[in-house]
């Protein structure tokens, strides 16, 4: 099915098509993906039963005159993370845990807040209603203190119950945007068509609820920054490179944006590329899409897209394109530390080309934003750089 046929001729996408074929072959060799892309929602009754089990255990503990405690997998320790090329970062099966005790001055408050949010989840699931993390925070902002505390507890509960957050009837407000050749129907029946629009569409808050996803995109381009995304929109990139999909998480992606990218890959196996700044922060964002994050490693199967490829801006591009030095920025101490940290991560070992690019950056001690390409021309990015990269396979 064709969408707004304004893009290049079919031969433009030959390399992309071959790339997709190789990805599919690789997938078949690996035994394919779990059905539904690894997404499995727990039913409402399952969630209710598991919460009741928790309460029951607490009461049993109290009846034995023992102070109850939660045992939660430690999501903040690298010791509990393993790397699999096909999945990315995920939690080990026997990981270290943290105890949240009810009889300790330091943890009693958190113990109570976990129970509080569990009881709220219980009510949401029972009544089949939904709330965002922000809604939960504002039910008693003084009690919770700040949003981060609520977010972390919700993630802890999700990890503890081994169900995705969606199953807890807790949504998060998406900050990501989509544009391009894509249409779908949201859970409430709303039809969404991202094609041919001057403005982008917000990533829906209920990715699992989307149905009737339709696209014939040749590639999905993940753009790190909103500014770059808007620039490409303004340059009509999606139509010029049609059929394609553009997504941005506006920096570090939220869960819904990651879920959407995962859903697109799992459903269509469309090649996914990233366009990030040539700096450690951009590389780290790219790694989140590709391999996942430590804090959400317990849900890696639902979130990671190991097939992601680095399209640009590569550190080697800076030299190749003779970007002048005054368009470059020296790496800060923090950048250096982050770069060193990324280089030590397990997934960099199996990405020699990525490692090489990072070493170029480390050696030059310079970084660059995508906007550095405007030195060449204001529309160099959308008119020359990206089309050439996509046409001739300039990704790693």
């Amino acid at each position: 099915m064709a969408f707004a046929p304004m893009g290049p001729e079919a031969s433009f996408f030959e390399v992309l098509d071959r790339h997709r074929a190789s990805l599919l072959a690789e997938l078949r060799r690996a035994g394919g993906e779990p059905p539904g892309g690894g997404t499995r929602l727990a039913s409402s009754s399952e969630v209710l039963a598991s919460i009741e089990n928790i309460i029951q255990d607490i009461i049993t503990s109290l009846a034995r005159n023992e102070a109850p405690a939660f045992t939660i997998d430690d999501r903040s320790s690298w010791e509990n993370i393993k790397f699999e090329d096909s999945v990315g970062l995920q939690m080990v099966s026997h990981c270290t845990t943290r105890k949240i005790k009810s009889d300790s001055p330091k943890s009693v408050q958190k113990f109570a807040l976990i129970l509080k949010i569990l009881s709220m989840i219980y009510k949401l699931v029972q009544s089949n209603t939904y709330a965002t993390k922000r809604d939960i925070y504002y039910t008693d902002s003084q009690l919770f203190g700040n949003q981060t505390i609520v977010d972390n507890i919700i993630s802890d509960i999700s990890c503890m119950l081994k169900v995705p957050r969606r199953s807890l009837h807790i949504l998060s407000t998406s900050k990501g945007l989509i544009a391009g050749n894509l249409r779908y129907i949201e859970e409430d029946g709303t039809k969404v068509n991202c094609t041919g629009r001057a403005t982008a569409v917000a990533v829906p808050s209920n990715i699992q609820g989307i149905r009737n996803l339709i696209t014939d995109a040749k590639f999905v381009l993940i753009v790190e920054k909103d500014a770059t995304f808007q620039r490409l929109l303004d340059d009509n990139f999606c139509n010029k490179m049609s059929p394609c999909i553009m997504v941005t998480g506006k920096g570090v992606p939220d869960l819904n944006t990651r879920l959407l990218v995962k859903r697109l890959w799992a459903t269509f196996h469309t090649p996914v590329f990233t366009l990030v700044d040539a700096d450690p922060h951009g590389i780290e964002i790219m790694c989140i899409y590709k391999y996942g994050s430590m804090s959400m490693s317990f849900e890696a199967h639902n979130l990671t897209v190991p097939a992601v490829r680095w399209l640009g801006l590569l550190p080697s591009d800076l030299k190749r394109l003779n970007i002048p030095k005054d368009s470059l920025i020296p790496l800060t101490t923090r950048d250096q530390m982050k770069l060193d940290s990324i280089l030590k991560r397990p997934y960099v070992t199996c990405q020699p080309f990525w490692r090489k690019e990072m070493e170029i950056m480390a050696d030059s001690k310079m970084k660059a934003e995508i906007q550095a390409l405007t030195f060449l021309s204001s529309d160099y990015l959308s008119r020359v750089y990206l089309p050439n990269k996509l046409r001739f396979g300039g990704w790693i």
Binding site: S45, S50, N53, E66, F111, M160
Partner: protein, 529 residues
């Protein structure tokens, strides 16, 4: 001027000063001995409504150093010029020897006529004075007896093996709280232990006003404040919202109580209004100082006479030092009270959350199990019992453990040694046991367990914590470097000896300081992952 009390004061003061100075007792050592003070009163044959009182002050057993009678009488008469002519002195030399080093018992007797009311007041004053002496001279014991028309009453001051906190220069502070409160202000069950836990402030040098210098008051005066709550409360609850009184005990350089005379020296704001030195309002405390001048009277020394002026001259440094010391005491409890409030609030949230699930559940087996576990007939009773059991289980972990209890609990008992050790460590440092990593083998695999109807335990409970999480912290003593003061007021040329803290009951101090050094960590935000 009342006779008996003042005479007893001055004689005891003389004896103690003589005792200390003449026998060359070393610093850090305590004066040791026993004195008997007995007053026998009979109706006077010459005056109506008057008692003829014979007061005897005698040593019991050994008494080091010999008193020279003439020198003693001369000096006492110079101290008490206002005594009436009815006073007479007798010094029975006993086995008195010219050799000062020979153990010498002594006995001093004087007689005076007083009306009964005055005698009773004098007795109270004397006992008050004796109590104050024993606070800093724990090895001096007094037997005080009063016999009025054949009716005898006795009281003993000073107990053997009193727990003390050593200051310096031989001054030790008894820390048995009975010395400081005659009746417990709180129920005994609410008191942590029978001891106070003084916090010592930094010693400060006092400036002597120009108009005081040259009046035989020279040298260096150093003030070392110490503050404590008495009795040490067990539970930091609303008790800290109310402090019934502030008692101020003043001692001179040799540990003799400084007694103020309301007659000879008007009460200045320095002693009348504690806010002159201590800001208690920041703890939302308002109290009345307990400076019972009716029991503090009579004897005045050069130091006492000018004490107000000296303290006023050094008001800011005195205030800073005392405030710092008081802050150390009150802030700890204030923060502990806040931690306690935090606990109560958290338990309420926990209980309400559990109740919400239990009452909202449509699973009858779940509801039944919950009620049965706590032996509750209905959800209302369940809620009450839930709150009670939570409270009971968590309360003891949040009780303030003083160093006395910690010392006992650090001794392993005859049960599972690993468990007991970990429990003891928990009791001594409960703050260390939150959110620690447990061994992997404690975790059951969780995947694939969410099937309907399956009873899945998703909790593990705090058993014996791993050694890493229960390591006690090193004590960080906050005691100031205590510089002993220069000699008594009459010793006009005093120089401060080398500073140092006497060991004495150092273990208790270290354990106490260890306990409160952790207090700030109790209240810091939990680290987020």
């Amino acid at each position: 001027m009342e006779g008996t009390a003042v005479a007893v004061f001055e004689i005891l003061r003389y004896l103690i000063i003589h005792w200390r100075c003449e026998t060359g007792i070393s610093r850090g050592a305590l004066l040791e001995g026993q004195l008997v003070i007995s007053i026998e009163a009979l109706h006077s044959k010459h005056e109506a409504n008057t008692l003829h009182c014979v007061t005897t002050i005698a040593s019991v057993g050994s008494f080091y150093g010999g008193l020279v009678l003439k020198k003693f009488i001369k000096e006492i008469q110079s101290i008490l010029p206002g005594f009436s002519a009815k006073l007479s002195w007798t010094l029975e030399e006993g086995s008195y020897s010219q050799d000062m080093s020979v153990v010498t018992p002594f006995q001093i007797i004087f007689e005076i006529d007083e009306n009964p009311r005055t005698l009773m007041t004098d007795c109270l004053v004397i006992k008050h004075f004796l109590r104050k002496i024993t606070m800093v001279h724990p090895k001096i014991r007094f037997n005080f007896s009063l016999k009025v028309n054949g009716i005898l009453s006795k009281e003993f001051f000073g107990i053997e093996n009193e727990p003390t906190l050593n200051l310096s220069n031989g001054i030790a502070l008894v820390i048995n709280s009975q010395h400081y409160v005659s009746r417990p202000k709180f129920g005994t069950t609410e008191s942590c232990c029978s001891r106070i836990h003084p916090v010592l402030g930094h010693p400060i040098t006092l400036s002597i006003p120009d108009d005081v210098v040259g009046m035989d008051l020279l040298g260096e005066l150093i003030l070392t404040p110490a503050a404590a709550l008495c009795p040490t409360p067990k539970v930091f609850s609303s008790q800290l919202n109310r402090i019934s009184s502030v008692s101020i005990f003043l001692y001179g350089p040799l540990g003799l109580p400084l007694i103020l005379s309301s007659r000879e020296q008007p009460v200045t704001p320095v002693f009348k209004d504690t806010s002159y030195f201590i800001d208690l309002e920041k703890y939302c405390l308002h109290m009345v100082p307990n400076l019972d001048l009716n029991l503090d009277r009579g004897v005045h020394t050069l130091l006492t006479t000018h004490l107000s002026a000296i303290l006023t001259e050094s008001h800011s440094v005195v205030q800073d030092s005392i405030q710092f010391t008081v802050d150390q005491v009150l802030e700890q409890h204030h923060q502990a009270a806040k931690a306690h409030q935090k606990l109560q609030a958290s338990l309420t949230v926990a209980v309400n959350s559990i109740m919400s699930v239990v009452t909202g559940s449509t699973c009858s087996s779940f509801r039944t199990m919950c009620l049965q576990a706590l032996q509750a007939a209905d959800t209302q009773e369940f809620g009450t019992k839930l709150h009670k059991v939570f409270h009971e289980i968590t309360q003891h972990r949040f009780l303030h453990h003083c160093s006395c209890e910690v010392k006992q609990q650090l001794t392993p008992e005859k049960k599972d040694s690993a468990q007991s050790t970990e429990d003891a460590r928990e009791n001594s440092n409960p703050v260390l046991l939150a959110e620690t990593s447990g061994p992997a083998e404690n975790k059951r695999p969780m995947r694939g367990r969410l099937r309907q109807g399956e009873k899945t335990r998703t909790l593990r409970y705090a058993g014996a914590p791993s050694p890493s999480e229960a390591a006690p912290r090193r004590p960080e003593p906050t005691a100031a470097c205590l510089t002993p003061s220069g000699g008594e007021a009459r010793a006009t040329h005093g120089t401060a000896p080398a500073p140092g803290v006497s060991p004495g009951s150092g273990l208790e101090d270290a354990l106490w300081l260890q306990e409160v050094s952790n207090l700030s960590e109790w209240l810091s935000p939990s680290p987020e992952p």
